[in-house]
Every structure is written in C-alpha cells, then in structure tokens.
C-alpha cells in the first residue's frame, strides 16, 4: 500500500464524479427525498418515528452499493483496471482509493439525510445526533465496501443489478424494518445476526430511542467496521493482475 497512489486514486474518482452532475444529484438528494416521502406517507400515524431511523440506514446503503459496484465494474471492463495493475498500483491502493472517495461522499450524503430527517421531517432523536451520524456514515461506507466486493463477481452491469435483490433485499427484510428481529422465527433471527445491515439498523434505533448505552452502539459500530474491513480485504483478493 502506498499513500500517494491511494490518494491519487481517490482524487481521480472524485474528479470523475465531479464531471457527472447527475450522479452527484442522485447521491446527495435522493436519500433525503425518499426519507421525505416516507415521512409524508406516514404523516400523523407515528409510524415514521418507528421506521425513520432505519430509513437513514437503508437509502444511503443501497445507493452507495449500486453506485460503487457499477463504477468499479466499468473500470474492470474498460481496461483501465488492467492498465493500473500492470503499473505499480497496489491492490489495496485501488480499493482504499475507491473507499476513501465514496466514503467522503457518504459523509456528505449521510449528513444531508440525517439533517433532513431530523429538521425537516421532524424525526425524534432522543440520543446523540453525532452518534446517529457516525452510524449512518459507517453504514454508507459499508454499502461502498460491499459494492466493491460485489463488482468482482459480476461480468456485466445486468449482473450487478441482480445483486440488489440477491444481496441487499434479504438484509432489508431481515434487518428489523418490517418486523422486530426478536419477533422473527429463530432461524431467521439467527441469520439476521450475521447480516451487517441488521446491526446498523439496531444501532440507529438504539440512538434514536436512547434505549441502550453508548457501549451497545459502540459494539454495533465495531461489527459494521469488521464487515467493512472484511469486504475490503476480500475485494482486494479478487483483484487479479493476470486474467484469462
């Protein structure tokens, strides 16, 4: 790993996005719009206060997953990855460069989403706003790291889109948005313990209701962090200098 190459890669990815205002719009505005839609849909029912925190986890996670996996897939197909790996680029330089670039975007995106949910949609947050933001950011970075990994197993954009229902939807279903995880059948509850999004949603709910102590949220953050590191390490293993 080399800091100069990692930073150069992050800067390059951000420059590419800078040339693409629509992607910036998608990244920064859409999660807030969706959260706004949820708040409006459930206005006067109290449901938004129940599912709102989970929404802060969901939308940035999904959008970062999609954008990252498609961007890196394009790079694998366009021949630029082959060129980079024939140059002195380390695999971690490449992956961390991407994580850093999209991680920075995730910070901005999550800040907007949290701000919008709390100040515009009136989501009640009993715990610390900072902790909420920290979990939201970790969650968006998790989407990025999983997207990087997923792109390694796809040959086409179509396949990447298929990963959405295959990898992301089960996490949403089992994450505790539709049914509290404790109330699930035992097997599903056990499976959901191994899905990273469950822990993100747990943490956001805990902060929003101030129902657990900071240690609980910290543990959840550590678990999300472990998934991020795992995805990054696995992702860099799947980068091959020699191809068929």
């Amino acid at each position: 790993m080399n800091l100069r190459r990692t930073l150069a890669t992050a800067r390059r990815v951000l420059t590419q996005i800078h040339h693409d205002p629509r992607t910036i719009g998608l990244l920064l505005i859409v999660p807030s719009l969706l959260i706004g839609l949820m708040a409006w849909l459930f206005s006067d029912t109290g449901v938004f206060d129940l599912v709102g925190p989970a929404m802060i986890a969901l939308f940035p996670f999904i959008i970062m997953f999609l954008i990252t996996s498609i961007t890196t897939l394009r790079e694998r197909q366009g021949g630029t990855l082959e060129r980079l790996l024939a140059l002195p680029t380390g695999k971690l330089d490449f992956i961390l460069g991407y994580t850093l670039a999209f991680g920075l975007l995730a910070i901005v995106q999550s800040s907007i989403a949290v701000g919008f949910a709390v100040w515009v949609c009136g989501l009640e947050i009993e715990g610390s706003m900072w902790l909420l933001l920290a979990v939201a950011i970790a969650d968006a970075v998790l989407g990025t790291a999983l997207g990087l990994l997923a792109s390694a197993f796809a040959q086409t954009e179509f396949q990447v889109i298929q990963f959405m229902p295959a990898l992301v939807f089960p996490q949403i279903l089992l994450g505790g948005v539709f049914l509290a995880r404790e109330d699930m059948p035992d097997v599903l509850h056990a499976i959901s313990d191994w899905l990273p999004l469950s822990h993100a949603i747990d943490a956001l709910n805990a902060v929003a209701r101030d129902s657990e102590d900071a240690g609980y949220v910290g543990t959840k953050l550590l678990i999300i962090g472990a998934f991020i590191v795992g995805a990054i390490v696995l992702g860099s293993i799947t980068l091959r200098r020699r191809t068929p």
């Binding site: 100069r4 590419q16 366009g78 140059l87 002195p88």
Partner: protein, 255 residues
C-alpha cells in the same frame, strides 16, 4: 553477448479451451523497434499480454529486461497500450495523464511532454469520451509514454489514424528507439512494417518469420510488405510439406 530486452522460450498460452500460442521462441535486442504482424486472431495481443505479465495460463519462459515477465520490479519499466484504449472517458486528457503520472510517481512536467508528443495539446482539457477515435487511442498511448519506460509494448497504436499522424507517430517511435527504448509494436498496416528494425510474423499461434524488413522482401522475392506477408501466410497455410522458404527462421517449432 547481446543484451536482450525480451527473451521468449517455448511460450504456450491457453485462452478458454484452446491453446492460442504453441511454443513460441524469439528474442528482442535492447533498443530495437520490432513490428509484430499477423492476421486477426493469430495471437498478437495474447503474446503482448504474456510479455507484460497480465496473461493467465502461460507456460514456458519469458524474460523481460532481465526479470521474469510480470515481476513487480518491471511495473515501472514497461509501458503497455492495450488494443482497446484504456483511459477514463469521464476525465479530460490532462486529468487522465496526471492520474497515471501520480501512480508512476513521475514529475509533473512529464504530463505536458507526453501530451505534446502525441499531438494532443489542443485537446488537453477535453473530456476523453468526446475525442475522436484516433485522438482517443493517442490519449491511451500518451499515458504509456510517461516516465520514459525502457520497454514499450504497443498493441495497434496507429489504428484509425490518418497517414500524416501515422507518419508522425512512427517518427516518434524511431526517436524513442534511437534514445534506447525498446519497442514492440503490433500493426495491420504493412507499410508501417518497413519502418521497423525487425519483424515478427505470427500466424495461428506460431512464429512464421523473424527477420529484417529487407530480409523478408528478399526471401519472399517480393517488393512490398503486403505481398511478402501474403506469400508467407499462403505458404504456411499450404502446410509443412511446402518447399517455400519457411524454415529460414529456424524458430518455428514443428507442429
């Protein structure tokens, strides 16, 4: 002893289910400008990928600048231009070149040098996705010239270029070669072949000829490169029984 930039011995490569290269052997001396010719699908790109070290399922021995092909030490020393331009379409020419320059750790001045050398000064701030086909392939070439690598492996760098530009690029290749860079350049355009020091003619995964352009013309009793190329390919297709002077290279292995 000649100092070789590339030594290939008994190179076999499988791609998919088929063996694409069938035991090639040849040498490229340092500083030489070598043309790699051959029909479409004959294995030029596969050979280049093997030399650069990005091809899988390679057997045999390839030594590049004194190291086994694909060694980490070589990554600073080889410039490789893939057949399809490999630059970022959503960055400008200069942003692309700057990025590859920072990956290589070369000085900033080099960025302007390679943009100028490939005639892209006027397009430097244009998005690569909006370049013409020829400009696009030159942008890809420019990135490979960064840091003045000792070996340049160029896969059809002049495809889609007009005669004036082709002439200028070949002048650039000659200049680089005179300055000590070794170049392996694949091409379909036969008149370019006469500007090389040596020609490697690949056919169906074997080397048909490895000699100087004038030697090739003499041997095939032809006057231009197109005819020489056709004569050799025809002779090869007629099979090993043919008496055509095919064995002159002494490199082709018995099928």
């Amino acid at each position: 002893m000649v100092n070789y930039a590339i030594q290939v011995d008994n190179l076999r490569v499988r791609r998919g289910r088929n063996e694409v290269l069938h035991g090639l052997g040849f040498e490229v001396p340092r500083g030489a400008l070598v043309g790699l010719l051959g029909p479409s699908g004959s294995g030029k790109t596969t050979l280049m990928r093997s030399i650069v070290g990005v091809q899988r399922e390679v057997s045999g021995k390839i030594t590049v600048l004194g190291h086994p092909a694909g060694s980490a030490k070589l990554r600073h020393r080889i410039g490789y231009v893939t057949q399809a331009p490999s630059v970022y379409l959503d960055l400008t020419v200069r942003e692309n070149i700057r990025y590859f320059a920072s990956i290589l750790g070369v000085v900033r001045g080099d960025v302007e040098r390679v943009i100028h050398a490939t005639g892209l000064d006027a397009q430097a701030d244009q998005l690569v996705g909006s370049l013409s086909g020829g400009q696009l392939s030159r942008a890809s070439l420019a990135a490979a010239l960064l840091g003045t690598p000792e070996l340049l492996v160029l896969d059809e760098p002049t495809v889609g270029l007009d005669p004036v530009l082709r002439f200028e690029l070949w002048n650039l290749f000659r200049e680089l070669s005179a300055a000590g860079t070794t170049l392996l350049v694949s091409s379909h355009v036969m008149d370019e072949a006469t500007r090389c020091d040596r020609l490697l003619l690949v056919h169906d995964g074997d080397i048909l000829a490895d000699e100087t352009p004038t030697g090739l013309l003499e041997r095939t009793a032809t006057t231009d490169a197109d005819d020489a190329f056709l004569a050799l390919i025809k002779a090869a297709d007629r099979g090993a029984a043919d008496t055509h002077p095919d064995a002159g290279t002494g490199r082709k292995e018995a099928p």
